[in-house]
């Protein structure tokens, strides 16, 4: 049946948090009214769609009226009536609510593979995925290709693991396929514990069937008959959609016994994680599924030889698996045509921080960082100066402004002391203190360390303590050297990737922002004005008009002064909350 009027409402976690459900109810209520012509009701269909990336402009609503698409941004329930009235009935879109140029700029500079159906199809309807070409790849693989040929295609595509380490996916599958074992497993790693990362969550919320199809193809290739999706319980919407999708896939006989009539049985279980970052590490993840405390084990043996329940096991990231159907549908050459010599294809990044268009983006590997920040991201918020971008989360590093033209791929980022990692990208501006940012990441790794190995358990604690004393004005001569030495030793001796990479944020910020560390230690100053213990607030006599605004907002009663006379801040009582600065109309208060 052909619909003339299609309404698509962004219903990822971001869309729902911005009120997507209310907007949907509003459409339903308004369209249900008697005054709306039956004609419109009959030809109208409404769909939830997943994240299309630009969460900053939620709730986003697409109206496709007679094949013409109009996208609205920041939609609230009260706006719905007018849209129906003017747009649906009279055929005139409400221009003032239609997305602006930057929405298109954000999308036009991306290349979408993994996200190509996200935000377009209804993730809760398997038919929507099938109509968009979904499960064609599975059919093609199972009816026309041997497992070996499938693996060969993935190898040729150059796809590398998107979970962080960048290991060639085809090769991993090949190792596992060559193992002889009555039982093998494929696991989808949807733990996604990096702060600021929401790529995998959005893929599962927006297009769960692509992940499932990728897993089935992987299982067929390596000879697995059981699969697990290890997903954190903090992702309730993703879990719900995944479970729904699994049921639908079973109904359509893509999962279960004799899939597509072939001698191939495969099913997928969902295992909820309790939200430990370290459980994303593959051996810890396996321990967690087995019912043990999630702690990494020494490798070798690698999971492809001895994984879940000691059986050969392939573990792949969500994004890695979601790429698989598209690669097989469009061919290895097509996929390999994106990216660089060694980093093929596209990568999804979670662009956050001080960036105008924060959200989810997908770009070809090797794209210059500048294009991501300025063409897609629309530049820095409030026109502040760009300072650095932190990539790879707690395992990564900071790339300073002077390296803005670097290409974003595995090799280039590694060469400057950072990593692609799983795809977090936090943009920092001149108001960010690098010592403080680093402290944040160390707090994270320290509290997420599993405690098994000494350097990670105690070493990261000591790193954090040194950073804390630096940012509180108690830094000592030699602290930078101590940080570097301990970082080196922790990297060299830690058991798993968590500890081995935990010092990276320190080393890269010392490398590019050593002067900031020195200012904290030697001059007891925080140049960005962030570290509270190093700040003092003063009122500049020449600008103060004695209006008393600051005195009224000060929660600590630290400001004194007669009306119309110059005011003063008692630095002993001041709690450095910054309320006075915001209240002063005459820019008479300075922090430094």
């Amino acid at each position: 049946m052909k619909h003339d009027l299609i309404i698509k409402i962004c219903m990822g976690t971001g869309g729902i948090a911005s009120g997507g459900l209310d907007v949907m109810h509003a459409f339903r209520n308004q369209l249900g009214k008697k005054s709306i012509k039956a004609d419109i009701k009959k030809h109208c269909s409404m769909h939830k769609v997943g994240c299309r990336g630009l969460c900053a402009k939620d709730v986003l609503v697409d109206i496709i009226l007679n094949n013409v698409k109009t996208t609205y941004q920041f939609i609230k329930p009260y706006m719905v009536e007018r849209i129906i009235e003017e747009h649906f009935i009279n055929g005139n879109p409400v221009l003032e609510w239609v997305v602006s140029e930057d929405y298109h700029q954000f999308h036009d500079n991306q290349i979408k593979v993994v996200l190509s159906d996200c935000g377009i199809i209804d993730p809760e309807e398997i038919e929507a995925y099938i109509n968009a070409g979904g499960y064609d790849a599975l059919r093609q693989v199972m009816l026309t290709m041997s497992p070996g040929e499938t693996i060969e295609t993935i190898k040729k595509s150059g796809l590398r693991g998107r979970g962080g380490a960048g290991f060639p996916t085809g090769l991993k599958w090949e190792f596992c396929s060559k193992e002889t074992s009555a039982q093998k497993y494929i696991i989808c790693n949807a733990d996604e514990g990096d702060p600021g990362a929401f790529m995998d969550r959005s893929v599962i919320e927006g297009n769960p069937h692509a992940v499932i199809e990728g897993m089935i193809i992987g299982a067929y290739s390596i000879g697995a008959d059981n699969g697990y999706v290890y997903i954190r319980a903090e992702y309730p919407l993703a879990v719900e959609r995944l479970r729904k999708a699994l049921q639908q896939a079973r109904k359509h006989k893509f999962l279960g016994k004799k899939i597509l009539g072939k001698e191939f049985n495969f099913d997928i279980k969902v295992k909820l994680g309790a939200g430990a970052f370290v459980c994303g590490e593959e051996t810890a993840l396996i321990a967690s599924i087995e019912g043990y405390r999630g702690m990494p084990k020494a490798k070798p043996p690698f999971p492809v030889y001895k994984g879940l329940w000691s059986k050969p096991t392939v573990i792949n990231n969500v994004e890695t698996l979601a790429n698989i159907p598209y690669i097989l549908r469009n061919g290895a050459e097509w996929y390999a045509s994106f990216g660089t010599e060694k980093s093929k294809g596209t990568k999804v990044f979670a662009l956050t921080g001080k960036i105008r268009n924060s959200g989810l983006i997908e770009v070809p590997m090797g794209i210059p960082l500048r294009e991501i920040i300025y063409d897609i991201g629309g530049g820095i918020e409030n026109d502040m100066a760009f300072k650095a971008v932190q990539t790879g989360g707690p395992s990564g590093g900071c790339i300073p402004a002077k390296l803005l033209d670097i290409k974003v791929d595995y090799e280039s980022l590694a060469s400057v002391g950072s990593i692609v990692g799983s795809g977090g990208m936090v943009v920092l501006d001149e108001n960010d203190c690098m010592v403080n940012i680093t402290k944040f990441f160390l707090q994270f790794t320290q509290s997420e360390s599993c405690g098994k190995c000494t350097p990670c358990r105690i070493g990261t604690k000591r790193l954090l303590e040194i950073l804390e004393r630096i940012s509180s004005g108690n830094g000592r001569d030699g602290d930078i050297k101590l940080l570097e030495d301990l970082s080196h030793d922790i990297k060299a001796t830690s058991l798993c990737g968590l500890g081995q990479t935990a010092p990276n944020p320190i080393l890269s910020t010392i490398k590019y922002f050593r002067d900031e560390y020195e200012a904290h230690i030697k001059e007891k100053k925080c140049p960005a004005g962030v570290c509270k213990d190093l700040l003092s607030y003063i009122i500049l006599d020449q600008f103060c008009k004695g209006c008393g605004a600051c005195k009224r907002v000060c929660p600590a009663g630290a400001i004194s002064g007669e009306r119309k006379a110059v005011h003063k801040i008692d630095t002993q009582t001041c709690v450095k909350c910054g309320a006075c600065i915001e209240s002063c109309k005459f820019k008479a208060i300075r922090k430094g």
Binding site: A276, K297, C453, L486
Partner: protein, 346 residues
């Protein structure tokens, strides 16, 4: 059988042997705190790191199997520096109270700190502070001294099959604990105490009774049951103050709570040291000869009057095999009946 070189010495070891074990067989020492030969390799303390040619980072010798042609270096300035940092980190979170620690002189951590000459510590910082609780008569847990080697957790799970403790919490606050932070409530076999490399786990009844250097060891057999576990009594001033067991024994060094903690009867004032004969409803002390004479005369009398099958013998599980053999021989040959049994079947 892979052939390899460790510090220039040729070694061959069976497939699957770890570098640590291969080195041990060649008498090359590698420090470790978390390894135990009977437990699953752990790789937690990181002290046993070695360099392997062709691998760009140190590997833990306790978890890495040997391969043909492998070239291992167990000691060089970089490796020793890394080990020293690890020890410094451990000591930065360890109470500095070797003076009053039960384990002093027998503590692997203390030993390593001595050999690595660690006195100053670059990483002074917060230490974990815990209050001791555990209302049981056997095991004292001083978790501030715990270095998280997890030997206790593994022995409880893998050898004892009990799983009374596990690691809890994360990061710096990781801690070995019974479920929900409650008091220990287990079999109290004390296997965990036996493998603890520091003073974190000790026996409550040992406290201030004497350190390892003060004791004389006497090997004996446990009197509690027919298993016949080998015991080593730790004796100070002619009193048993502690019991352990050696690894190369029939029981592989493992003991149960009776063997390990049940030795206080030795010096108990209530302990029977001579036979007692009951006369007019009251016991009096007697000599062995007198007691035996009485038994012989009574048994003879009964047998004469009622026949040998009126007599039965029941032996104790606390007797040794040899004693039990003699007992049944006595009942069968001397008394003349097959009415003989033993309580260990119960």
């Amino acid at each position: 059988m892979p052939n390899l070189r460790i510090d220039g010495i040729s070694v061959s070891a069976p497939e699957g042997t770890t570098i640590l074990d291969a080195a041990k067989s060649a008498d090359i020492p590698i420090p470790t705190l978390c390894h135990h030969p009977k437990l699953t390799p752990y790789g937690g303390c990181r002290l046993c790191i070695v360099d392997v040619k062709g691998i760009n980072r140190p590997v833990t010798s306790c978890t890495t199997p040997v391969t043909e042609g492998m070239e291992v270096s167990t000691t060089n300035p970089e490796i020793e520096k890394l080990r020293s940092t690890i020890l410094e980190l451990l000591l930065s979170d360890h109470p500095n109270d070797c003076m009053i620690c039960e384990k002093a002189g027998d503590c692997t951590l203390q030993e390593l700190a001595y050999f690595y000459g660690i006195r100053e510590n670059r990483f002074e910082g917060e230490r974990r502070q815990y209050t001791e609780k555990d209302d049981n008569p056997f095991i004292r847990r001083n978790m501030e001294k715990c270095i998280l080697c997890s030997k206790c957790v593994r022995i409880c799970d893998e050898i004892q099959g009990v799983g009374a403790i596990d690691l809890t919490y994360r990061g710096f606050n990781a801690k070995v604990s019974p479920p929900f932070g409650k008091d220990l409530n287990c079999e109290f076999c004390g296997q965990c105490v036996a493998v603890c490399p520091t003073g974190a786990l000790t026996g409550k009844m040992w406290v201030t009774k004497g350190r390892q250097k003060d004791i004389r060891e006497v090997d004996t057999v446990c009197p509690y049951c027919g298993c016949g576990c080998s015991l080593t009594l730790h004796i100070r001033r002619n009193r048993v103050i502690r019991v352990s067991s050696k690894e190369n024994t029939i029981n592989e060094g493992w003991l149960c709570s009776k063997g390990r903690f049940g030795f206080s009867f030795i010096n108990s004032p209530e302990r029977l040291k001579t036979p007692l004969i009951k006369e007019k409803g009251k016991f009096r002390e007697a000599s062995w000869d007198e007691a035996f004479d009485l038994i012989v005369s009574k048994l003879k009398k009964i047998r004469k009057k009622h026949g040998p099958d009126s007599i039965g013998g029941l032996a104790s599980a606390r007797c040794t095999n040899e004693e039990n053999y003699l007992f049944q021989k006595f009942i069968r040959a001397a008394v003349g009946t097959n009415n003989v049994d033993h309580c260990a079947r119960l």
